[in-house]
């Protein structure tokens, strides 16, 4: 049996990586992700983690090194945030295109300029289409669990696709909170060793990533996308197995007090915790409000999203990222697309909040719900609204 302990969330992620028995870590420090790789570096230096820690001069090199270690069959982890993730951009496509099951933690942070070290989801949303499996954690426990699950999912031979675990920078990464820590034996029983299908081996040379001529490129991309879409089923399987082993249930879309709800708040990440409290308070005041939380972001859970909003009059989607000049928030766009084919669908409102570390307060949730009720009565007036802006 495991034990209940208090721990900083970043360090819990490092612990998950250690318990996953990774073979290689290549990473470059960047706030607010630094504690994760600092701790891993310490574990390797202390001999507590039998892995190669590769010092690199940039995140571009970090992800390149990860591609190398994963290609030779090593279980590989890295972590980054914001500009660091942006610097990895081109290599993220190579990792997914080469079908390398690298696992990465992203301590979500706003993108410069102006320089902001604080949290929002702009960094990962800019990498939305890189072909990675992407999860959002609400709690530290979830960041820990998802990290372990991510290896099992990514390395499944039906998937072989890299996976990213998003945890909000500072508001989650730097918080000490309670964890149920499993024993190493329990993790070992859940997560077998990585058995790669094809590896780079000087004795049995293969070529990875040659030129994809027009005759073959489309087919390779179709295969890659099918693997990512197919990951959905594997994710559900792994989560079922995880629940049996550890007692914690995971679903692509989490619903909270949605029974009989007229208005649903939709959000991803740690702020969903505050949204729960807001929903409780609004329910107590007699408002029929519920919450749906995006945990699985890629592959996008279309069916689960459609099921989650069933019966609601409106969905208020709050994004911590602005699509400049576009339709509002990226999660809202996806949700709208998922609902578009439905003959009867709720009104969907897009709200932008929590940029660059701005708190999303209880009042912000009340404001969003109030505005959504107004739209239900008066009809839509804006493509999207920014919440909590100082006038």
């Amino acid at each position: 049996m495991g034990k209940r302990i208090g721990l900083e969330v970043s360090l819990a992620v490092s612990e998950a990586v250690k318990m996953a028995r990774v073979d290689a870590v290549a990473a470059y420090p960047i706030t607010p992700q630094t504690h994760i790789v600092e701790e891993l570096s310490q574990m390797v230096a202390d001999g507590d983690l039998d892995a190669d820690f590769i010092m690199v001069e940039s995140e571009h090199s970090a992800m390149s090194a990860c591609c190398g270690t994963s290609a030779v069959g090593a279980r590989t982890f890295t972590a980054t945030a914001a500009q660091g993730l942006a610097l990895m951009h081109e290599i993220l496509f190579i990792a997914s295109g080469l079908r390398l099951p690298i696992v990465m933690a992203i301590a979500n942070r706003a993108l410069s300029a102006p320089i902001s070290i604080w949290g929002d989801h702009s960094d990962v949303m800019a990498e939305r289409d890189t072909g990675w499996i992407q999860f959002f954690a609400e709690t530290g426990q979830e960041a820990f669990d998802l990290t372990i699950q991510a290896f099992k999912i990514a390395e499944d031979k039906r998937v072989l696709t890299p996976a990213a675990v998003n945890l909000d920078g500072f508001t989650l990464s730097h918080v000490i909170e309670p964890f149920d820590m499993p024993d190493q034996e329990e993790v070992d029983a859940f997560l077998p060793t990585f058995e790669p299908q094809v590896i780079l081996d000087p004795d049995n040379p293969v070529t990875m990533g040659p030129v994809g001529f027009p005759e073959i490129y489309t087919e390779i991309k179709k295969q890659q996308n099918e693997a990512l879409l197919g990951a959905h089923e594997v994710i559900l399987e792994v989560w079922e197995e995880f629940e049996k082993a550890f007692g914690r249930a995971y679903r692509p879309v989490e619903s909270y007090r949605t029974d009989g709800a007229e208005v649903l708040i939709s959000i991803a990440g740690s702020t969903a915790g505050t949204a729960r409290v807001a929903v409780d308070n609004m329910r107590e005041a007699g408002k029929k409000v519920g919450l749906i939380r995006t945990r699985l972001w890629r592959p996008y859970p279309f069916e689960e999203t459609r099921a989650a909003v069933k019966g609601a009059k409106a969905v208020a989607v709050i994004d911590r990222c602005l699509s400049f000049g576009g339709p509002g928030g990226p999660i809202c766009s996806e949700l709208r697309s998922a609902l578009y084919p439905l003959p009867e669908k709720p009104v969907v409102n897009s709200y932008i909040a929590g940029l660059g570390g701005r708190d999303i307060t209880l009042q912000d949730f009340y404001t969003v719900v109030e505005d959504t009720y107004r739209v239900l009565e008066e009809g839509p007036t804006d493509e999207y609204k920014m919440i909590g802006v100082r006038e």
Binding site: F170, H174, E177
Partner: protein, 187 residues
Amino acid sequence: MGNMTEIRWHGRGGQGAVASAEMLALAAIGEGKSAQAFPSFGPERRGAPVMAFTRVGDEFIHIRTGVTEPDVVVVLDPSVMGAVDVTSGLKENGIVIANTSKTREELADQFDIDHPLYVVNATRIALDVIGRPITNTTMMGALVKVTGLVELSSVEDQISERFPRVAEKNIEALRLAFEETRAREEK
């Protein structure tokens, strides 16, 4: 949602306000309660006024906003009170626990504090016992006495784990501050 207490720690960079916030959370979690601890997020400078936060509750704490309306304010450094308004946002029934060489009345007058105020000369205790004016462990003794949020022994365990080489003296300072501080019900 069950009972939850929100604590804001005021100190200066390097005095251990963050360590206090963390040790209190870990002590509470060790007792089977739930807790969160976090620093004020951003660049840190030694000597500048800093804040740290702890939430302690019976059930898992879901809220993820900053602590803007604390129940308890703990002041580690007397000079901070001239630099920042430590009672900012303090709940109506909130309390202040301050390190000061002044009496309760003098301090309340000087900074216009209407909330219940508890004082302890933590700097003197720390200098006498530890030999350095580091008041974070000392002020935890005062906090435990006033609020009873956790057992003193749970904090002692945290100090032993975190500062093994200087644990004995820090625990002595913690206990002295606990004894010298008035409990909440003692008027």
